[in-house]
């Protein structure tokens, strides 16, 4: 009997995932997005083997400065003679890492607080939600600027700042999701057998209401990448000489009149990466909840 239950459970789970994957596959935009995301991940992984960081990515070579795009330097060279293509391709890892890690930080903070607010309710929920309201009131980029300028400019602080500013959305969604299943019978049953509260939430409730969180996480990566590159553009992100796209744009800006390619390629890289995650995020949303498709 138990084996049969396990088998049917497994089958049911596969069936749901299979259905979502089937719907995702039918969505051309999502497939383009997924292909682009996989390509960018591949570039981020391969670039460390393809280019030597010290000699090709950050090393100055003033003899080669301001070379226009050519067969030798496909994207040209910058004001310090560095190959822009090597830097753009190597920079993929920064954008991906910041985008993904920041969203993970946001999930950890947001889902934990949202689950507490949704499950416990009462004054604790009120306090958490009012604090969330306060965080939501401050324009995201300004809050991130405040955090980075207080803690100092570094890759870690950049990820933390973007993560913290993204967390309030997860608090709201997690709370609303937990509240929809709070009075389900299986929750009552778990309480009745004396299961600890945290286990009820993590093992039983979250898996039953995780879809909106997955959708939010996928879509949030795109905005996290834009936020991070915006901060780097303002000189508050990944410090030089690391090849972060936002900071490359910022330094290229000073030479835009004569060497516009210095700003063109890093900007294009940001746009394509964000576009890829937006396409994938929209596709995941439509696949998980087809009612939202519009």
């Amino acid at each position: 009997m138990a084996t049969r239950e396990r088998v049917s459970k497994k089958y049911a789970k596969r069936s749901t995932m299979g259905e979502i994957w089937h719907r995702l596959k039918k969505n051309k935009g999502a497939m383009i997005g997924l292909t682009l995301v996989l390509l960018i991940i591949a570039i981020a992984l391969i670039s460390s083997f393809a280019f030597d960081y010290d000699t090709q990515v950050i090393n100055q070579n003033l003899v080669n400065r301001f070379q226009a795009p050519s067969a030798e330097h496909l994207f040209g060279t910058d004001d310090l003679g560095r190959d822009i293509m090597a830097r753009v391709l190597y920079g993929a890892r920064y954008s991906l890492m910041v985008g993904i890690v920041a969203v993970l930080i946001a999930i950890i903070i947001g889902v934990t607080l949202g689950c507490i607010a949704g499950y416990v309710g009462g004054p604790i929920s009120e306090i958490i939600m009012r604090i969330t309201d306060i965080f939501c009131s401050v324009p995201t980029i300004l809050l991130a600027i405040a955090i980075v300028s207080a803690f100092g400019v570094s890759l870690t602080n950049l990820m933390v700042a973007v993560g913290i500013t993204s967390a309030p959305q997860f608090v709201r969604i997690a709370r609303a999701s937990i509240m929809t299943v709070r009075n389900e019978e299986y929750v009552e049953a778990a309480k009745a057998i004396g299961m600890p509260n945290w286990k009820i939430v993590v093992v039983h409730m979250l898996p039953n209401c995780i879809s909106p969180l997955i959708v939010q996480a996928t879509q949030r990566v795109a905005s996290a990448i834009i936020s991070a590159s915006s901060l780097s553009f303002l000189g508050l992100g990944v410090p030089q000489p690391a090849p972060e796209w936002g900071s490359m744009l910022s330094s290229g800006r000073n030479f835009i009149r004569d060497y516009s390619y210095m700003t063109f390629f890093p900007g294009l890289a940001i746009m394509l990466t964000v576009l890829a995650f937006n396409l994938l995020g929209d596709g995941v949303r439509d696949a998980i909840d087809p009612k939202l498709k519009r």
Partner: protein, 309 residues
Amino acid sequence: MYRYVLKRLLMLVPVILGVILLIFVVMDLAPGDPALMIASPDATEEELAELRTNLGLDKGIAYRYVAYVKNMLHGNLGSSYISGRPVMDVYLERLPETLKLAVGAVFVALIISIPLGIIAAVHQNTFKDSASMVVALIGVSMPSFWLGLLLMLLFSLKLGWFPSGGTVGFKSIVLPSITMGLNLAAVMTRTTRSSMLDVLHSDYLRTARAKGVNEKKVILKHAFKNALIPIITVFGSQFSYVLGGAVLVETIFSYPGVGKMVVDAIGNRDIPSVTGGIVMTTIIVTCVNLVIDLLYAYVDPRIKGQYVK
């Protein structure tokens, strides 16, 4: 309705106090001794200690927070460490410049997004719809600082139609407004389309058509007015991004608004200007959101009915 407005205004107070606390605490963690920044390089230890006492730095953060709020109620956000000028004066000087950009951005966004969203919805699943959505998606994905640089390169440096920076009359707000407005337009186009699709198949539209109302009137008067509520909601939330995004756009175009004031202050580690700039911008965003909430009542009589009850 008046009671509702009053209630909403009262609810703003704890949020604003919370925002001030949040920014105040975060900025208090910034490294460096403000007294050292303000004092002359040859200041003695006694002079530094006196300056710290005058600035209240020898007191706890709770004391300084209460003092900050009290001063703020009197229109005092402290003085800039660099220029020595009151932060409120500098902010109020620059605010109209940023508001010009915000109004320009909203104008650009509305004239693009509303027609494009309506056309996409009316021609759902056709080439026009797909093209509009692809354009909107690219617009959402394009970082404003890159778009701004591209616009500057083409229209300012190559064609010479607009200045590349500063405030030289009306022309100087065109490119920054378009930069901010195109991002907003992309988001609004998606919302307008989605919102129109929700109402396009409603029974009351079928009734209007059956009565012989012409299609243009059905779409613009009957459908669009009902689709406006979600559009206004998203617009409200996006206004926060517009004012936040001003930080980037004003930096690109060297435009002397409040965004640039905050960025310059960060570069100079001018904490009172950073704190004051962020707090004031947040208060404005919160007030705009309140106004937008109240606009719902005007647009949707059902919501007005709830208020009356």
